[in-house]
Symmetry: C2
Subunit: 292 residues, 2 copies
């Protein structure tokens, strides 16, 4: 069993990106600039956005954090989006989700200029990705593809079972891995809460992507010997072993599943660190103007 | 075994649409107007477009056919698209594919106003469909969903195997059927040319969607007893039994597969007639302005 070390890979990629930023600087070109919009004070969102800003600093990007109280109106937020769309210094920006209930998330996401949509959530980017056109791919699926590539895990003609059908993970990764592509060409099954006898399907998988959001859902009896297991789950569960009073739990019962695997990602330190790196890569790509 | 009679269902739906058009007329509202752009003289395209125009007449829609020689430049064609986008009398329009090689299909498709994209090929419509937002769904997958509904074929918790991963059939139908929806909630596997031991997978299917484009690919030994088989294949093969010198062949070896099925679509007369009806429904929807 080999552990897929997302933390190590993410650090390597950050070093690569930092080198590219230095090159841009040295040749007098524009430095990538990421903006993040944070509405309200949700604890998780605060942490995520802080990590994103910190990652920008580490690789030498410019970053801007725009904070608004959760009383901001939809119209005001849409105005902010419009300003960011028109600000030529900003290459890409994200609006951290979730938004307060009085604001339509899809309206806000659809208002973002697709060329600056480094989260890859705009329908144009989703649609372009699916039809095989150049597009910003959202962070988690892009991070999973990157991990499979860096560990030289073959996907062509393999049976991949994706557990979970969310718009941000399960759906896009299922599409990417079944497309005609270097890390693709897999036979892909999407399972979800309405799937019957799920273990009969996961047991056939050469590669399992667990993205259901149920801690320790995937047990040893659901996994065939030698499988590759990618754990996307990050549920906060109460813990008396940490200062914060909680710890992250994946969707995989790691201790019992790991011995059966050829490769497995831990939680934390697997897919998680890759997501921020994917965002940085998208921002670099937005700055390069290669997609739009 | 019950035959799924696409021809009959399509005729029923046309009657329903015609009644809605009469209602619109009687209440002084705007009649749906579909425009079709045909470039060149490809035999297949001529036939398809002629059928679409005829169907419009049958249900009482206005229709406009714009023909151009295959020497038209990309710029000129894009100008036509722009004119149709701005013509307030036209509710929806299609650009018949394939286009001549000197014209970028995706550039033309992306130039269409998504609100008039009744073929549902614009990335915005693909992306919105995938993220569960209101969207124009392309004709063939929409027609398949309609057939399953009209024959009350349950999809929830069923295992659907889609053979083929094309942007216009395999990919979208695989997504629609696995989404949380009335005709959805299935566990879906996408197989394709790189799938190994494909019969081991198709044999598990409660519902098989054959959309590979290889005549009589799906044989009896690949289908489990009682399965539902939807045949999307429409390959023209030489025939000395028809006036035209060719006939349509599906992707299913009908004679040997049909006896094992609970339901099966014939070719012709199965999915085919449904595609034009889906286009009509999208045009009616565009006219209603309910999506955009």
């Amino acid at each position: 069993m080999q552990l897929i070390d997302g933390k190590k890979v993410a650090a390597e990629i950050k070093t690569e990106i930092a080198a590219q930023v230095t090159e841009l600087k040295n040749s007098g070109k524009k430095i990538p600039h990421l903006a993040a919009v944070l509405v309200g004070n949700d604890g998780g969102s605060e942490t995520y956005v802080a990590h994103k800003v910190k990652a920008c600093q580490e690789v030498g990007f410019k970053s801007t954090l725009l904070r608004y109280p959760d009383t901001i109106s939809e119209t005001e937020l849409l105005k902010t989006v419009e300003q960011l769309n028109n600000d030529s210094d900003i290459d890409g920006f994200i609006v951290q989700l979730p938004l307060p209930k009085h604001i339509s998330e899809h309206k806000v996401l659809e208002a973002i200029n697709p060329a600056k949509d480094v989260d890859g959530f705009h329908p144009v980017n989703v649609g372009r990705m699916i039809t095989g056109l150049p597009a910003f791919v959202s962070a988690t699926p892009a991070g999973i593809v990157e991990l499979l590539q860096r560990y030289q895990i073959e996907t062509a003609s393999k049976h991949v079972v994706v557990v979970g059908r969310s718009n941000i993970v399960g759906r896009p990764i299922s599409i990417l891995l079944s497309q005609k592509a270097k890390t693709g060409d897999a036979t892909v099954t999407v399972c979800h809460s309405r799937t019957k006898n799920i273990e009969e399907i996961t047991k056939q998988a050469d590669i399992i992507i667990a993205a259901l959001g149920i801690p320790e859902f995937l047990k040893a009896n659901m996994v065939k010997e030698g499988a590759v297991v990618i754990d996307v789950g990050t549920t906060r569960v109460a813990s008396d072993q940490t200062k914060s009073g909680w710890k992250l739990k994946g969707d995989v019962a790691f201790d019992e599943v790991a011995p059966k695997c050829s490769f497995i990602t831990p939680v934390p330190g697997g897919v998680g660190p890759m997501t921020i790196v994917s965002l940085l890569k998208n921002t670099l790509l937005a700055n390069s103007k290669l997609i739009y």
